[in-house]
């Protein structure tokens, strides 16, 4: 599983960081950084939640 962020859509709402701070980090420059682009399979429920709850639909999962 590979995490893909569309940075044209991302507005740093940081919902994803609340769900999985080990994968998503919004830093002081107001940009989102993906700390681990290929999280392990046991992270999938959290990644699915991040995809679903991002209000800008900026996150997707590439298998």
């Amino acid at each position: 599983m590979k995490i893909v962020v569309d940075y044209d859509l991302c507005e740093s709402n940081a919902i994803c960081m609340d769900i999985a701070p080990e994968v998503f980090e919004v830093r002081d420059d107001d940009f989102l950084y993906v700390l681990n682009e290929t999280p392990s399979e046991d992270m999938r429920p959290k990644m699915d939640e991040a995809v679903q709850r991002c209000p800008k639909q900026a996150i997707s999962i590439k298998e």
Binding site: E11, S12, D30, R53, P55, Q57
Partner: protein, 396 residues
Amino acid sequence: MTTLVYNPYSFSTHDDPYETYRRLREEAPAYWNDELEFWVLSRFDDVLEGFRDFATLTSTKGIALEQRGLSAERSFRQMIEMDPPEHTAYRKLVSRVFTGRRVAAMEDEIRTIIDGYIDRFVSEGSCDLVADLTGPFPMDVICAVLGIPAEDRAALRSHSDKLLIREDGIMEIPQAALDGMFGMLEYFIEDLGRRKSGSGEGLISDLLELEVDGRSLNEEELLGFCLLFVIAGHETTTKMVANSVELLSRHPEQRDALSDDPTLVPGAVEEVLRFHNSTQYMHRALTRDVERHGQQMGEGQSVLLLIGAANHDHREFGETAEQFNILRRPERHLAFGYGAHFCLGAALARMEGKVALEQIHSRMPHYEVDHEAKVRFHSSNVTGWTSLPISFATAR
């Protein structure tokens, strides 16, 4: 059983919309109003999908029912009435103005503004919450961001209040609302002129430096941003805080819990947004024929995405969906919309709501609302109070 009628201009609907909303969700999930010619989607999944699918449900015909088709005649252009990819280009210009970090940096300033208003009446033990606090303070906050001088804010607020006014059961925009619109346009045409000749600060002056498609923003685009920021930044937040107090006064055990434990406040803000959101619906228009719940919906027809109903849907929020509970902590709701047009000011609105409720519950605990004297604000898609007299025992 009475015939199911939903008219967003009906004053009796404004008084208690939720039974009508429940019937819409259960009896007519794709409801057609034949008199005013619009569809309503009211279930959570349908409203969310409606916001997501901008290719089918366009924003370009206006976001309130009575605005449909008017945008072509206007002297300003707003990104809230555009679809991607055009919308994306404008949104990117301002998408990082209200990030969580920037809003967090404004918390102290917001608290100072709110305390300044509370200081003026707290010793009296009573106030009109709208006139004395929730009306003026969000305008101060958004004007501080935009760089609008303090002496101009009261006039701007009076224009802004007027332009959402609607009459009972009637869709046509009343003269008072048009006057508000013209008053505000006139102010910003002059203001932009002053700023172009070098005076001024804040977000509006920043906009003058921005480019879209390799050129500066023109006057109709600049006016669009100014109007959008003032109206969206002021009206919905004003309504949200007064709605919170009115609602909490009818749930005194939850009101007192907030005074005892301020850490419950962010959850209370979220529950007010879900349970009684100041924005009740958004208007879209169909770009193609679709079928929903067995109904044939035609290209060009109006669709209301009924946020207020979706946020009470038991399919999403379970059997207690119709109950107000500040401890609920919903995972998601549609108060700020979803997708391309997700409220740009969501973080700011949450911060203003949090600080206002913290200060109200610490400085005026155990307040009571005069429910006989309160006056409802009547609009098409915004719900709130024109006057909300409250009294409180403690003066601190």
